[in-house]
């Protein structure tokens, strides 16, 4: 790890020197060879942040081609910088470490809106410029000082149709009722969504969840502990359902569609009481491409067409109300903000999570382990 970091830094310095003319082309290429920089894909973050690109720090997978097509291309066509990716996953700790070390290599993080609340006040993020980015092009509570929601993802559940036949579960109360609906369950390991689901199952109204009553939620979760598995990644949640390990599984709602397809309809997604999570773009303090450029990029991502493309490509739901009416027929059952789902959905409070998330995650981990 340290080696890689060192190589990356060497290369970034080299790239800067090359750009400023202090290093000739041959010297730069030698340096690239020395540090083992074989292709543009090896160290996207470091090298390209210096070489006039926008670097999006995300979670990899399909999101590269999807974000590239939906936001990167139109942004470049409008005269902006081209888009590149660092796919190592912008966890809060990594963003903090990057900014603290003074070696910022990412311009925009595809993160959670609660990250903006957690890292903004400590000076790790650039504030969003709402002269360029529009507060009206996202849901009302999801345009915060240090981050703005672009897409929504959600925690919903799938159930085994063969296990529950004629009387299928339809709410978190059913999900937590192992007497009426016997079988194993799976929940998200890092507390998000799991706590809210437990409270809704315990009778808390979906619009009155926050501040979360932790004791009440953890009691509900402990009560089902012997019948529960906990997943840490989308792939794990997926395989727990597809392999029949659980009869009901909490999943990211866009995964729900894949599970339905992979089990040929045996598992079915329930969107009632799904928890909508605001995914957000946040900008590390001192990002290499500059604040002005990245704000234009974020404004581009608010465009309804870009958001509908992301929905088509990744199953991430638009947060811009102007796009809600144009959600295609086939995506209606799976999209959080589609006409058929939006009224049954609970909305996450990023401020509560940003301020209390750390303690909540620890309390949850202690309860399940």
């Amino acid at each position: 790890m340290q080696d890689k970091q060192f190589m990356r830094e060497t290369l970034v310095d080299g790239a800067k020197a090359f750009k400023e003319g202090r290093l000739n082309r041959r010297g730069f290429l030698t340096l690239c060879a020395m540090t083992g920089f074989a292709s543009a894909a090896s160290f996207p973050g470091g090298a390209e942040a210096a070489a006039d690109y926008i670097v999006m720090w995300n979670w990899g997978g399909q999101s590269e081609e999807c974000h590239g097509g939906a936001i990167g291309k139109p942004h470049e066509a409008a005269g902006g910088l081209p888009l590149r990716f660092d796919t190592s996953g912008p966890l809060q700790g990594k963003i903090k470490e990057m900014v603290d070390s003074g070696n910022v290599t990412a311009d925009v993080c595809d993160a959670d809106l609660f990250d903006a609340v957690a890292l903004g006040p400590t000076g790790h993020l650039e504030p969003i410029d709402y002269n360029v980015v529009s507060k009206d092009k996202t849901l009302p509570n999801y345009a915060l000082e240090h981050g703005v929601s672009i897409i929504l993802y959600g925690y919903a559940f799938v159930y085994d149709t063969e296990a529950y036949g004629d009387n299928p579960p339809n709410s978190w109360a059913d999900f937590f009722d192992t007497a009426k609906f016997p079988g194993k369950r799976s929940l998200y390991k890092w507390a998000n969504g799991s706590l809210e689901a437990a409270l809704m199952a315990d009778g808390v109204d979906k619009d009155a969840l926050y501040p979360l009553d932790m004791d009440r939620a953890l009691n509900k979760i402990k009560g089902m502990k012997n019948d529960s598995l906990y997943w840490g990644s989308g792939a794990e949640a997926h395989s727990m359902c597809v392999n029949g390990e659980v009869s009901m599984g909490m999943v990211w709602q866009n995964r729900g569609r894949n599970i339905e397809e992979d089990t040929e309809g045996r598992y079915k997604l329930v969107m009632n009481q799904a928890l909508a999570m605001p995914g957000a773009y946040i900008v590390p303090k001192g990002n290499p491409a500059g604040r002005e450029e990245i704000m234009k990029f974020i404004a581009q991502a608010q465009d309804p067409d870009a958001q509908l493309q992301l929905l088509d490509c990744l199953g991430m739901t638009p947060s811009n109300p102007a796009a809600f009416d144009n959600i295609p027929e086939g995506q209606q059952p799976y999209a959080i903000t589609s006409a058929m789902n939006i009224d049954g959905v609970a909305f996450n409070d990023p401020t509560w999570w940003g301020e209390n998330g750390g303690d909540a995650v620890n309390a949850f981990l202690e309860a399940i382990s």
Partner: protein, 281 residues
């Protein structure tokens, strides 16, 4: 000047650059971590006080130590029999066995962990076969619990047990065992009273190695434990990456470090560690 030259062996000058590097690149960051544990989020011993306030931290420690101990015993037992078989079989078979051992040693931990899910998972090979034969009606829960973690960890650690034991067993003078038999001891007595004591340094070396390596295990418990087996390494990583409690993480990391050092110190009181690690006693 002359006095210094006399007391300082010139060899020190040769290793000085290396020593300086170690101090700068290894000791520096460690001190930084320890510093963090008494300064983040606020100066004081608050992070260490958590150990006495929250029983959950103690529980995580206990889970970690329990799993590491069982892993150590399990893999040393299995490793001992493998090493014993390797030393005493034909040279050709021995090289086959060594090749197999090294191949599994080199395979990535992720691959080895996920293979267990394929084999022993809910719809894995074993459960499917048993169900197909009508032996069981419900799949057996081998994985996604503590048993799964132990299977995965012991399997991963076996090569680490075999290699030190193999070196130790190969260096034994087999004539000692012959002498024991010649003096009338049974095979069992020879093994218990001569062979086993002679291989004790190997057992201690592999046990220490495995216990210390297991303490830092992260991937296997996370994948095979179904979220319910929380070990200290995973907890530290969560504190660093998700909850931003770097002080707690540093405190736990420091405790692990001193725990291991203390263990080595106690061991050194009872035996020469240099013998354990292959140096001359």
């Amino acid at each position: 000047m002359n006095a210094i030259r006399k007391s300082l062996h010139p060899g020190w000058l040769l290793v000085a650059p290396f020593l300086l590097l170690v101090i700068a690149l290894y000791l520096g960051p460690i001190l930084n971590i320890l510093w963090l544990s008494v300064t983040d989020p606020e100066p004081g011993m608050g992070n260490y006080r958590k150990l006495f306030v929250s029983d959950s931290l103690l529980r995580i420690f206990w889970t970690t130590i329990r799993i590491c101990l069982i892993t150590t015993v399990g893999s040393v037992l299995l490793g001992y029999s493998i090493a014993y078989a390797m030393v005493h079989c034909h040279q050709k078979q021995k090289s086959y066995m060594l090749t197999l051992l090294l191949v599994s040693f080199w395979i990535s931990i992720l691959v080895r962990t996920f293979s267990w899910l394929m084999l022993l998972g809910h719809r894995g090979l074993v459960n499917n076969a048993l169900e197909g034969m009508g032996v069981i009606s419900e799949p057996i829960a081998f994985m996604r619990n503590e048993l799964g973690v132990l299977i995965g960890m012991i399997h991963y650690m076996i090569p680490y047990a075999v290699l030190p034991l193999l070196v130790n067993m190969q260096s034994l003078d087999m004539r000692v065992m012959d002498a024991s038999r010649n003096l009338g001891a049974s095979g069992q007595q020879t093994f218990m009273r001569v062979y086993l004591p002679l291989t004790l340094p190997g057992i201690v070396a592999s046990s220490l190695l495995i216990f210390i390596l297991s303490l830092g295990f992260y991937v296997t418990p996370a994948v095979l434990g179904g979220g319910k087996v929380l070990m200290i390494a995973e907890y530290i990583s969560v504190q660093l990456l998700v909850t931003l409690k770097w002080g707690t993480a540093a405190m736990l990391a420091g405790l692990m470090l001193f725990g291991v050092l203390a263990m080595l110190y106690i061991m050194s009181r009872f035996m020469k560690l240099s013998a354990v690690f292959g140096g001359s006693a």
